[in-house]
Symmetry: C2
């Protein structure tokens, strides 16, 4: 079954707003065995909308449209579809009561313009909207299905999960899409491609997308199949071979973020962590604490931009900064060791570097970052040279610092 | 002049990747007087591509397509367009030499497959690609223009700026789009709408998009005009009235981020800042240091997740935490004052709250955040209750903390 997604709304044709519902819808459709073959974005004009729906019905068995179901004059999706299919719009009393009830609960009377939202093309099935006033519509026409959903993501998602997904599943497509989500760090895209592409020929039924998603690389192998057991076996075997080819650079086979992998390693080892960061400016602490429940293992961090704070808050000797420079292996070591001792954490991490755009020299160029990791046996340090602008460098540095913690637990002998 | 943008590539029909080039292209086209009326995303199939280009040429005067110009079998944009327009593909010697030269500079011989990139439809103008091997193409056909560009954003942008924009400008559309970008914080979307919508009727030639972009609201008034002076006058006047309606909640009229506004206030006042944050977990420091040159005003920060660190690094009395709780006005005040005194900064900011999902109580629910600001006259504090999940709450809290610094300088008498 082939699907097209149409996003409706003139604001989606400005430089300010992207249709993002289609990613969610694509995922949901793929899971029930439906491929997306085309996506369109169209404005509020009736003519343009009619043409887009006509072309979509030529191309696809299923058309999912979002947006344009509100109460205002700009909301013309109902009208365009009814018109194209030659059906009348009729007032649906049940929908009207639902909308009136929504307003009553807010202590208000329904404005007259909201009646528009209760207009339904003849023969359409109403999809209730538990989170808002715009109902969805499910329309079958000459072997095709047209689904209209509101553009508000929370409403669209609730309606898709509660009504659309079960209905599409009942249509009983034998084939479904099975996928994996591999995350890799510390290798460039071309190197990842070189390592895994020989496997493609061994699994001719699969397709693999490689995605550069700084600071890492993602691999999405997938297979369409009628047989879940067989599909999962193929993917599991393929992922196992990919893992061998990628080695320690592979940190997740199920789409887990680096933060989550590190959180799990810390929790499983009953370890605590504290960080002292300079060039990452708080990003490392921010990522560690992005995980609910992180207070169990994250004790705290210091963002020591000034040299004075490196000494007063993390006990880096001022002479050391003076003699070696704030961006040096020695200061990274002292930051890691200092924050560990100050906080009593199992592991201390120190990051110092030059995020740019200013501050680089021939000996210490922009992108140079030292990362230290300390445990009770003392600190170790590695030097990195990251590419890109300030934001990229900070992202790479925080990712590599997290990866150093992951490797610390992966290789207990101390190879970080 | 009406334009359609076509993004080409099967990966853009997966749940993993969005076409983002179209935002950049829309902005560029609008600036030279061209409206985007439709966007499409199509996979690598020749049939689908031909159909999309045919429909786009029906709909629009100008079609800009990106992607599918690489050297592999999947890259079929050249073929689809040549085929649709009934033109032969011919080897272009100049393009071939450029590609060979690119490889030579890398110390390699051009692989045979890259010859495909030198195939050009009869009568097309080659748009040089200074950053890669895929040349762009400009094809005029029966009063329409088709522009083919590579999908790699850096290549596409360089080619648009250097070649496409000047060519489109020379076509001489009198009308151009003029816009403003207003940023608002601390008001919900409906309240912003209510305050500014009465102005719409006063400026009937303008159109305004309102955009909820958590943690704030954006307003984009725009006008198409042949007369730059008149357009700017209309927008300036409209923005002035909007500013009156929005009051202190408007923090930027030119799209400046909150971080930048705060950076400017600190720099202009020759002030320095230091932060002690708990529930924002480093996000406040991260945003302050996201700005190049922030080391001039940002001294440092402490992410004190544990109560011990609140005392040992920021001198919050342990008894105070014990008696009032870590999330309390008193601790926010002590954090702000403590970090200021520790670092010698002009201004200290303290943030403590409950980001959730756990840790809430009926008295102190998830979303409760206290923000303290201290200067040499002592600290002040405000209490907020933010909606949403952990990420939203942290984003709101960091935004409001930055806004408190902005207001500190806006109202020197001390109203924060």
């Amino acid at each position: 079954m082939r699907a097209e997604i149409i996003a409706i709304g003139s604001e989606l044709l400005t430089p300010y707003r992207l249709d993002t519902n289609s990613l969610y819808l694509t995922d949901g459709l793929n899971q029930v065995g439906i491929r997306v073959v085309h996506k369109a974005v169209v404005g509020d004009s009736l003519d343009d909308m009619r043409a887009s729906f006509r072309q979509a019905l030529d191309r696809a068995d299923l058309v999912v449209a979002c947006g344009g179901l509100g109460p205002t004059d700009d909301d013309r999706t109902r009208e365009a579809v009814a018109d194209l299919l030659g059906r009348k719009l009729e007032l649906n009393e049940g929908v009207l009561r639902h909308i009136q009830e929504l307003f009553r609960r807010l202590g208000r009377v329904m404005p007259e313009i909201n009646r528009r939202q209760a207009m339904v093309p003849e023969g359409a099935t109403v999809i209730p909207n538990p989170r808002g006033s715009a109902p969805g519509l499910w329309i079958e026409t000459r072997g095709h299905i047209v689904i209209l959903l509101p553009g508000v993501p929370a409403e669209l998602r609730a309606m898709f999960e509660q009504e659309i997904r079960p209905r599409l599943t009942r249509l009983g497509h034998d084939e479904r899409l099975f996928t994996r989500d591999l995350r890799i760090t510390g290798l460039p895209e071309s190197e990842v491609e070189q390592r895994v592409s020989p496997l493609y020929a061994l699994y001719p039924d699969t397709e693999t997308t490689i995605l550069a998603s700084p600071p890492g690389i993602q691999l999405h192998p997938r297979v369409w199949s009628r047989d879940p057991a067989q599909a999962n076996q193929i993917l599991d075997e393929m992922v196992k071979r990919m893992a061998l080819a990628l080695g320690e650079h592979l940190y997740s086979t199920d789409g887990e973020a680096m933060e989550e992998v590190v959180a799990r390693a810390l929790t499983e080892n009953r370890a605590t962590i504290a960080v002292a960061e300079s060039c990452t400016g708080g990003l490392l602490a921010e990522r560690l604490t992005n995980i609910p429940g992180s207070s169990v293992y994250f004790l705290g961090g210091v963002v020591c931009y000034s040299n004075e704070l490196k000494s007063s808050l993390v006990d880096v000797p001022a002479e050391l900064i003076e003699s070696k420079g704030a961006v040096s292996p020695e200061v990274a070591l002292a930051l890691a060791d200092g924050i560990r001792k100050r906080t009593g954490a199992t592991i201390g991490v120190g990051v110092t570097g030059i995020a740019g755009p200013g501050g680089g020299t021939p000996e210490k160029p922009v992108g140079l970052v030292h990362i230290g990791i300390a445990d009770e046996r003392g600190p170790r340090e590695r030097r990195f040279q990251f590419p890109g602008d300030r934001e990229r460098i900070r992202m790479h540095a925080s990712q590599t610092a997290l990866d150093s913690v992951r490797r610390y637990f992966l290789f207990p002998r101390g190879r970080t």
